[in-house]
């Protein structure tokens, strides 16, 4: 269900996803969400959290690659993949 309802989340850049997630957490904590919508908004927050985690994992993998390269080889020979 979450995959279908929140398919747009998978295209959000990190900054947008974390911004929306923070606003959802704030609204839930302040009790400003109607009871009937509360669970849908929570689930949207979960989808956003998964998106942020996925993007962080990808970024982490890239950082690891650079670190290994820097440790094993002379610098400047490996192109940095930032796409």
């Amino acid at each position: 269900m979450a995959e279908n309802t929140h398919s747009d989340v998978n295209r959000l850049p990190f900054e947008r996803a974390i911004e929306e997630l923070e606003s959802i957490v704030k609204r839930l904590e302040e009790g400003k969400v109607p009871l009937e919508e509360s669970v849908a908004i929570y689930e949207r927050g979960e989808a956003l959290k998964r998106r942020c985690e996925e993007l962080l994992r990808q970024a982490e993998a890239r950082v690891e690659k650079i670190t290994l390269d820097a440790a094993g080889k002379p610098t400047g020979t490996e192109p940095l993949d930032v796409t």
Binding site: L28, E29, E30, G31, P34, L35, E36, S38, V39, Y42
Partner: protein
Amino acid sequence: MSTLLITHLACLEHLTPAGHPERPDRLRAIERALAHERFPSLVRVEAPAASLETIALCHPMSYITAIRDATPKEGLLGLDADTTLSPGSFEAALRAAGGAVHAVDEVMAGRAANAFVATRPPGHHTETARPMGFCLFNNAAIAARHAQKKHGIERAAVVDFDVHHGNGSQDIFWSDRTVMYGSTHQMPLYPGTGAASERGEHNTVVNAPLRPGDGGEEFRAAFETVVLPRLRDFRPDLIVISAGFDAHMRDPLANLNLVEGDFDWVTRKLMEVADASAGGRVVSVLEGGYDLQGLSNSVAAHVAALMQAR
């Protein structure tokens, strides 16, 4: 001794917008489940209307009359994004509070072992002077205060296993050292209150929040390690249960995974505490539960457990 089932047809006349989860069919589903042959000895009683003075044990009279006067002659009036008044709402709300009060009278007088009050609108979100979350008057809170005022008991406990935190009950009893309010509920979720750090002015508020996705194991652990020990120590003279069944795995408004057996378990555990300090006195009042199958099966398990009273 018998278990009472207290309800009233007027509670079907509190109408909500089309598609709203808190709907009259909830009571019809419960009625069908309890019509089963497992429940022949259940004593059925009509809920009387509570007097405004009794409701005023928890809410200012100005709030009560404002709700009465706002009740529309036709159509629906929205009080907030969730909560509506229809022409039959005030009468239904009086019966919901009155059913809980009548249950207290019967149980305190020893004419029944315990009671389940199947009425709507529910109550536990209603704060001292604020309707919210489908609720108009705080039925369970009124029942607890009524037991103290009319029957002279010293300590009452309101135990709330609805999946949403009972912010209204917590608000009403926040400064009251004679009433313990204990709750398990999903966090984060509506209404946003219910952190374990919220303890009341006299440490008589006990919150045991659960995480989305938690099931029977975590629910039982929260009761075993947090709510039940505090309840035993408090030694209530009466236990009022805010019995919401929306922590059921089928429920559309939350993400917990309880099954019927968990509601049977918690009911028996609360009855054990009531046996130890309250002469077995338990009054259970319906709160939420929005999947008709999950609701009716869970109520059946809950009431069947209540009927096992010694």
